[in-house]
Amino acid sequence: MKPSRTVDTRTDLLKLLCEAAELEHGIACSYLYAAFSLKRDMAEGGMTWEEQQKVRRWAAQIYFVASQEMLHLALVWNLTTAIGGTPYYFRPNFPQNSKYYPIKVPIELEPFGPRSLRRFILYEHPQNIAQESALKSLLRSAVEDGEEIEFGSVGELYGLIESGFRSIDEKELFIGSPTQQMTKDLVHFPGLLPVLDRTSAIQAIHEITEQGEGTAKDREDSHYGAFVAILKELLDSRERGSGFSPARPAMQNPSARLERGYGADANPIGEPLAQQVAGLFDSVYSLMLRMLAWSFEFDSVGVEEQLKKFCSVTIDLMPRVLLPLGEGLMLMPAGEKYPGKTAGPGFGLTRHVMLPPSAENARQLCRERIKELAALAADLVQRSVPEPVKGACRHLGEIARNF
């Protein structure tokens, strides 16, 4: 589909890339929250053996899709630096209402279920099938809330970005240094392409949209296709009337601390211990983001080893610390205000110090910060927290020792 307008200045293109970075980032968090909420153990109840296998498969798929969203964010950063911009890692805290982005779909943190899956399908749907009745009927049957479904598409945004890369003079546009581009030799991201010219820029954009929407010939093997299949499976099992309950009763849009500039609609976690774990999650998440963004921002010449180290530490932090902290939080009570609900990570981006250009100083700041966080974690291990949280804290200690 042709974009409704064209983009013909660097400023416009950079603004759109920042918007894309915000969206990819926010959507990845939303997917992760849903994946954290899926039950692991039969002892959690609400599922048979066969259903547990299904839940494990869903979790794997959602984690995989989330990891590709992170790749999209990385590709957007490469696109940004290729034309002289700086990687953008900020985003407003959750929830973001449907008016904030042109896609007209809210971005929230809520547990796995028909409502969250409906949102995921809306994020990823191909533009040209938005009006198809099968999709509309599936979305209607997901949640009977009578909500008017009006939505745009992330694909539309990339259509605009592509138009900018096509229309602006190539020689004028690509002013970033080629050695500023991150490649899979520096960071373990399969599929990470360096952006050096118009051709590679378009290739990167197509990689993003094809993974999200698929292609006209193959919708099934895309994020969109995967979410449609999961929603159908979930609705099908509900129709058959089983007592299947795949998700933990996690609260929506939690925040570790309300007073630190969170949006008014976030729900502060009431239970002090869970609040502390959620606070640790936010701090590790924020440090990880800063290290990753730093690696994408500066020229790699002369600092390859530090870039590799920063990237490998951030990638280590995701599965070994953030994931078990996130899953563990969903096993901890949320507080008296939320009867029967468990907590969750708020992915809170609080005020923080941005890393300086000097590699040595950046390393020093990160080393000190990770040690401080490891000390907090060491304290938490002694408390009565779920096993995944204890594991995460131990891992954080190890990573800090080896930093």
């Binding site: 296998q53 794997a60 798929q61 399969p190």
Partner: protein, 558 residues
């Protein structure tokens, strides 16, 4: 005369299912006959495996009736009639069921090399060169487009740039998916050995191409690192032939399970149109077809031909049985490598597969593995040892276990087996649950391969040495395991004098009988065979379709 089907395919494993799919899509009336049973759901099979003790390759697939009526060496350790003798025994096994042994394969899909197709002309001449090590009647270039096709059909994840041009074997297309990311252990080892060499050959760790989704592909999910690829991928991220059985039936092919084919009847003109089979209930039935495809792999295929008295004027059916000699070696790394996660193997070393040394000894592949010492019973054996012998419990036990298990490393090799006329499958006087002969198997690896195994063992020892491993266990000289790569027994060749099928997998003697699968391999090189099986099956399907078009006067094109 109108026959029941255009094509009857015996065996619903990867070769039969792929050919059936292509032919049904091309408009042929296809019947797939399978001796084994219908599969329960994947979740049920995972459940059977989870609750089985001890856990074996066959644990997910136990079904009393089919294990009796269509037994296999997986379901019965006495299925092969062969004398027990160390170092002279055939050790690879298989499943008889819809989807075949791909249910429990590891999923690796390296291609054969250019030289693997012309061993005699490239390396022959020395007295140490085995007399039966021949050239294929086709070349790497003939098969290359079909390798690409097979990679697309199966869904292979790999790094094109690492494999393109390996030993003069170029790739004309990239893999359909980016590689399965190497494990931490792979990268750790690579950092320590890449660029170093052993006896003149340089180490280079490469990610192993595998039919395992690294992304969403063909309606199946990406690998989630469940680590039990063998014996069963719990989510279907690893390819198995149930994918193409389903595609074949969707395209219109019929699938009859629990039908054990007993004999193919030859007409006066030498053609074969009648397929006789037994149901589990003992009923004798027949079905007729224009073309008969036998795709029952390298043990059951020659068995059926021998039972039918077909294609064997030159006494070649059943001969040249091959495998790869596999050996596992173990060591304790100087720091944690975190095994027991992800696919059991994600990288390997290809440097030793080809070279002038093949004039006198076999080539081999090296696999770096991610499964710790599980082949020795870890981590259970360690837990028992720590608790019962060293009296450790609680946090102390956890720490001791962590310190040891995370450093466990297994390296393995897969050594080329040269063909030998005396290694063969014959009909045994002993029978199975339906009264049919069991396979009599004779197998002694040739010296050429034992020399390769000895060299491979030394190489693995060198790698352990370079990485500073301790407690290295290189096993006993000449001891080997089966690789599960059952090959040979109906070799392909240009001349009817010394081979069973021609370059299109058609039997020399019966022009409407095709043999698909690894039984047609004249030689085997050292790669895992499944991709070559698939490529040959897809290539043959095109020839079968052409032949059918001529016989039936219908438009059939695959």
């Amino acid at each position: 005369m109108e026959r029941d089907y255009d094509v009857v395919v015996v065996g619903a494993g990867i070769a039969g299912a792929m050919a059936a799919y292509r032919l049904a899509e091309a408009g042929a009336r296809v019947l797939l006959l399978e001796a084994g049973n219908r599969n329960p759901s994947r979740a049920q099979m995972v459940g059977s495996y989870a609750t089985a003790s001890p856990k074996t390759l066959h644990s997910p697939y136990v079904q009393v009736e089919s294990d009796t009526k269509a037994p296999s060496p997986d379901s019965s350790s006495t299925y092969y009639d062969q004398p027990p003798a160390p170092h002279t025994q055939y050790k690879s096994t298989y499943e008889r069921r819809t989807g075949g042994s791909t249910w429990h394969w590891l999923g690796h899909t390296p291609r054969m090399l250019r030289s693997d197709f012309k061993m005699r002309s490239q390396y022959g001449g020395s007295p140490d060169f085995p007399p039966d090590l021949v050239d294929w009647p086709i070349t790497y270039d003939d098969l290359e487009p079909w390798y690409c096709e097979a990679e697309k059909e199966m869904g292979v994840a790999g790094a094109h740039e690492e494999w393109d041009g390996l030993f003069d074997s170029p790739r004309s297309k990239p893999f359909p998916m980016s590689m399965i990311w190497p494990s931490y252990s792979d990268t750790w080892i690579a950092e320590r050995i890449n660029g170093r060499s052993f006896e003149g050959l340089e180490y280079r760790v490469r990610s192993t191409p595998s039919a395992r989704n690294s992304e969403l592909y063909d309606g199946r999910p990406p690998c989630a690192g469940n680590s039990i690829c063998v014996p069963l991928c719990p989510i279907g991220a690893k390819y198995d032939a149930s994918v193409h059985v389903r595609k074949a039936t969707t395209a219109g092919a019929s699938l009859w399970e629990q039908c054990v084919v007993t004999k193919l009847d030859k007409d006066a003109d030498g053609s074969v149109h009648t397929v006789n089979f037994l149901t589990y209930g003992g009923a004798r039935k027949t079905v007729t077809a224009e073309v008969v495809v036998v795709a029952a792999h390298a043990i059951e295929t020659p068995k059926l031909l021998l039972m039918s008295g077909l294609a064997n004027k030159n006494d070649q059916v059943g001969r040249n049985l091959m495998d790869h000699l596999s050996k596992s070696t173990f060591g304790i790394a100087p720091e944690p490598l975190f095994p027991f996660r992800g696919p059991p193997s994600t990288s390997g070393i290809e440097s030793f597969r080809d070279g002038d040394f093949r004039r006198v000894r076999a080539g081999f592949r090296v696999s770096l593995n991610n499964d710790g010492w599980s082949r020795k019973g870890a981590p259970y054996t360690e837990i028992i040892d720590f608790v019962t012998n060293k009296k450790r419990i609680g946090a102390d036990l956890r720490e001791a276990l962590f310190a040891r298990v995370t450093k466990q490393l297994r390296l393995s090799c897969s050594v080329e087996v040269a063909p030998d006329q005396n290694n063969r499958v014959e009909l045994s006087g002993q029978t199975d649950g339906l009264g049919l002969p069991r396979p009599k198997v004779t197998f002694t690896p040739p010296d050429y391969s034992f020399k390769g195994l000895a060299q491979a063992t030394r190489t693995l020892g060198d790698i352990f040495n370079l990485i500073g491993a301790k407690e290295v266990d290189l096993g006993v000289d000449n001891a080997y395991d089966g690789a599960g790569h059952i090959m040979g027994t109906c070799r392909m060749g240009g001349s009817p004098e010394n081979s069973v099928v021609d370059a299109e997998c058609r039997t020399h003697e019966h022009r409407n009988v095709f043999i698909l699968g690894s039984s047609v391999f004249p030689t085997v090189g050292s790669p895992n065979p499944t991709l070559t099986i698939a490529a040959l099956a897809l290539r043959a399907a095109k020839d079968i379709a052409t032949q059918l078009g001529v016989t039936t006067q219908r438009k059939v094109s695959a």
